[in-house]
């Protein structure tokens, strides 16, 4: 596949995933499944941009590790702070 076709495929995927998000977000009756779909769509979109548009898939391993190591760090802080918030909220 030529590069232009790849870029077109990426932008179409981004638009489709955004359309999916816009369909799902008002459906509060879905509960946590709604959040899961929204966050998954967001993560897929982010990966497409990082790997293809920012070309991380072809960069040296050191750079790939430097990028992806930040995700568990951010997730750890998020979970820790949410746990803390829950503790304060219930006390």
């Amino acid at each position: 596949m030529s590069l232009t076709k790849t870029y077109v495929a990426i932008v179409i995927s981004l638009l489709v995933l955004t359309a999916l998000e816009l369909t799902i977000y008002p459906r509060v009756e879905l509960g946590s499944a709604r959040n899961a779909v929204l966050l998954t769509a967001m993560a897929i979109k982010a990966l497409l941009v990082v790997l293809v548009y920012m070309n991380l898939k072809n960069e040296p391993l050191t750079l790939k590790i430097s990028f992806f190591i930040l995700i568990p760090v951010a997730a750890y802080f998020l979970l820790f702070m949410l746990y803390d918030a829950k503790y304060i909220w219930h006390s």
Partner: protein
């Protein structure tokens, strides 16, 4: 030897030094965005009044803005591809398109901010439905929710603004025929920065507007 030539030659771990520099900057900057969004999540979980998605914020208008930003990332890729092929006309055309789309994004955001800051009956009704009774405006000091909204979108808007200035600089040099297939290190840096702005918007849009 010009700066652009120097950037193309010096390498650290197979990466041109300019590219390595922008990647390090983006990694740090990404953490700044993460701090703002995690802070918002913390405040929300800690009991701050947080209306249902779409009650106060204009999701359809922002969805249009999201599409504008996606398209600008696409035209930026076409510009990079053109300069790599030494297609000067295609390079300038796509760069101008990216600039126009970026400016449109900021224009729509400014329109949204104006609507919130000036206020009105429609906004008052929306705020009342969201639990903010008696409020006529949605300003940064109005509530924790408003502060988080302006913090995340304002920080992102500043990045778009900085990207547009960087783009004008690249265009000015492009008009003098500075960039070619052999020397376009700073165009690659701009491309990475612009995609990063797009990337951060995906997080801001989902976390601030949809969740």
């Amino acid at each position: 030897m010009s700066m652009a030539q120097t950037m193309d030659i010096r390498r650290v771990d197979q990466l041109p030094v300019g590219k390595l520099g922008i990647w390090l900057f983006l990694l740090m900057d990404g953490l700044s965005f993460a701090t703002i969004l995690i802070g918002a999540a913390y405040l929300r979980a800690n009991g701050a009044l947080w209306p249902r998605a779409g009650t106060v914020l204009n999701v359809p208008l922002t969805a249009v803005n999201t599409v504008v930003l996606f398209l600008s990332s696409f035209t930026m890729m076409l510009a990079l591809q053109a300069v790599r092929a030494d297609d000067q006309r295609g390079f300038k055309k796509n760069l101008f398109l990216t600039l126009a789309l970026g400016a449109l994004f900021l224009g729509i955001q400014a329109y949204e901010y104006t609507h919130f800051i000036v206020g009105g009956e429609h906004l008052k009704t929306a705020l009342a439905a969201a639990g903010f009774e008696g409020q006529h405006f949605f300003r940064p000091g109005s509530s924790i929710y408003a502060a988080c909204f302006y913090g995340a979108t304002g920080f992102h808007g500043l990045h778009v603004f900085a990207g547009l200035i960087f783009m004008i600089y690249i265009i000015a040099l492009a008009l003098r025929g500075r960039w070619s297939a052999a020397h376009h290190g700073r165009v690659e840096v701009l491309t990475l920065y612009w995609h990063f702005v797009d990337l951060m918007w995906m997080f801001v849009f989902t976390v601030v507007y949809l969740l």
